[in-house]
């Protein structure tokens, strides 16, 4: 049984993009498109989720994701409660399901969950009452589906179609839940060539089985690309044996104007944020004309509105 879909194939929870049918992905992107203009109105709100209570359950810190979820929920007229659990009852030893049960007793309608442990959102989704929906806002190394969706929305907005694109994902794929969600979405939406580029130590073994081409040389990997997605290099990786130094990494896998010139002249550059300037991306590229990094943030609101609206509507029918 697919935990994410109802018996009649509607979205019930959003936990991963792995296995979600193309029709659902397209429906989310189309719905997001119609939410785009709400941010431009005098009253930046629609009444769809009026009276619903949405809990942002962040067991791991986040600024951008939590804030855009909060704005998205408020634009849908929901009531939003933010909980940074890293700093509250978890430190007092409360079990995760006790926290969830307590919030459900406060009449929660939706949980948005971020957790350092892979599978945390699934765990909660399996536990909650039928009228409660769960959105995974990032679990361990596993998935970050709304980030993957907003990246697809960004690509569609700038490139129009998926069927004729070459997309490169560059950097620390091994530790990246974002990369996993992107790969699933890109292949489902019919992108013919998805490349992953990075040092051997930062690419998971068997990544080819996800339907991607592997490159260890950035120059070769970027040639002819339409879309370049840079991943954040988590600084803590430098402390282990995976990488020699940030300078060394930048030399081989940092996106500079010279390396960008190898891609197609109209290639777009994306990054899920937060960026390490001078480590995985040169400031000149990050702030340059081919960068769509800030539009990604804006689109994230419309995409998260779409997911919440699809989850909340008809949920009890």
């Amino acid at each position: 049984m697919n935990l994410q879909l109802t018996e009649d194939g509607r979205l019930r929870h959003l936990l991963t993009l792995d296995g979600l049918p193309r029709a659902i992905l397209t429906q989310i992107l189309d719905t997001a498109e119609s939410f785009m203009d709400v941010g431009e109105r005098e009253v930046k709100k629609v009444p769809l989720l009026r009276g619903k209570s949405i809990f942002n359950l962040f067991f791991e810190p986040s600024t951008r994701t939590r804030t855009t979820f909060e704005i998205a929920a408020k634009r849908l007229s929901a009531d939003v409660v933010n909980l940074n659990i890293a700093t509250s009852s978890q430190t007092k030893g409360e079990a995760i399901l006790d926290t969830v049960d307590n919030l459900a007793a406060m009449h929660a309608d939706m949980f948005i969950v971020r957790h350092a442990q892979s599978g945390a959102a699934h765990f909660i989704a399996r536990h909650v009452a039928p009228h409660i929906s769960v959105i995974n806002a990032g679990d361990g190394r596993h998935a970050h589906p709304t980030q993957g969706l907003l990246d697809m929305f960004t690509i569609r907005r700038f490139k129009g179609e998926f069927h004729n694109l070459t997309v490169a994902i560059v950097g620390d794929v091994l530790h990246s839940r974002v990369a996993r969600s992107q790969i699933h979405a890109l292949t489902t939406l019919g992108v013919p060539e998805v490349r992953v580029i990075g040092p051997k130590t930062l690419l998971p073994t068997g990544v080819e089985q996800m339907g991607v081409k592997v490159f260890h040389n950035m120059e070769a990997g970027l040639a002819g690309c339409d879309v370049i997605i840079m991943l954040r290099l988590q600084n803590e990786r430098m402390k282990g044996a995976l990488l020699p130094s940030a300078q060394e990494y930048f030399k081989f896998f940092g996106l500079t104007p010279e390396k960008l010139a190898l891609a197609r002249p109209d290639a777009i550059v994306m990054h899920p944020g937060p960026m390490n300037r001078g480590v995985e991306i040169d400031s000149e590229v990050a702030d340059g004309p081919q960068s769509v990094i800030l539009p990604q943030v804006t689109y994230g609101i419309a995409v998260r509105m779409a997911v919440m609206a699809m989850l909340a509507g008809g949920a009890t029918a």
Partner: protein, 164 residues
């Protein structure tokens, strides 16, 4: 009930005639997706309206959202003018319960505060559930509750009414 439903074009011409006296150069015409936009397009042309045509998709304002969910094909609303202080003629194809019109008014007020809103419908079929009545009507019909009256557009752009 008439055996066959009348042609749409004369009804729209009649509506335009009724609206014409209240039209000023500042009045805007706003159609509700999908049938209301078709009628509004005709009225806009017939009346030689100076302002761009407005279009509303009320999917985000429906009162049955929590029961039936989001319509899978939501079209963007497009109101290419400032609503503040405007006189609006709101156009729909069929007035039934009045819930669509209520949702449309709620949406309009999220864009600004119009000076006035008048309602023009091609067909008022009765069975109202809200205190909403049209200011301009092409045709008044007494359609039984279990039947629906629909406006459809053929490939050549021709509009027709049907009963189902």
């Amino acid at each position: 009930m008439p055996a066959s439903l009348p042609d749409v074009d004369p009804l729209i011409a009649q509506l335009a005639g009724a609206i014409a006296p209240v039209l000023t150069p500042e009045t805007v015409i706003v159609g509700i997706h999908t049938g209301g936009v078709w009628v509004a397009e005709r009225l806009h042309a017939l009346l030689g309206c100076k302002q761009p045509l407005g279009m509303l998709d009320i999917s985000f304002y429906r009162d049955d959202f929590s029961r039936i969910g989001l319509h899978p094909q939501v079209k963007p609303s497009n109101l290419p003018f400032d609503l503040e202080g405007r006189d609006i003629v709101l156009v729909d194809d069929v007035l039934h319960s009045g819930r669509t019109v209520r949702a449309a008014m709620n949406e309009l007020f999220d864009y600004g505060r119009p000076s006035s809103i008048r309602l023009a419908v091609l067909v008022d079929r009765g069975n109202h559930e809200l205190p909403i009545r049209p200011d301009f009507t092409g045709l008044t019909l007494d359609v039984p509750a279990h039947q629906n009256i629909n406006l459809s557009r053929l490939d050549d752009g021709h509009l027709t009414l049907s009963l189902a």
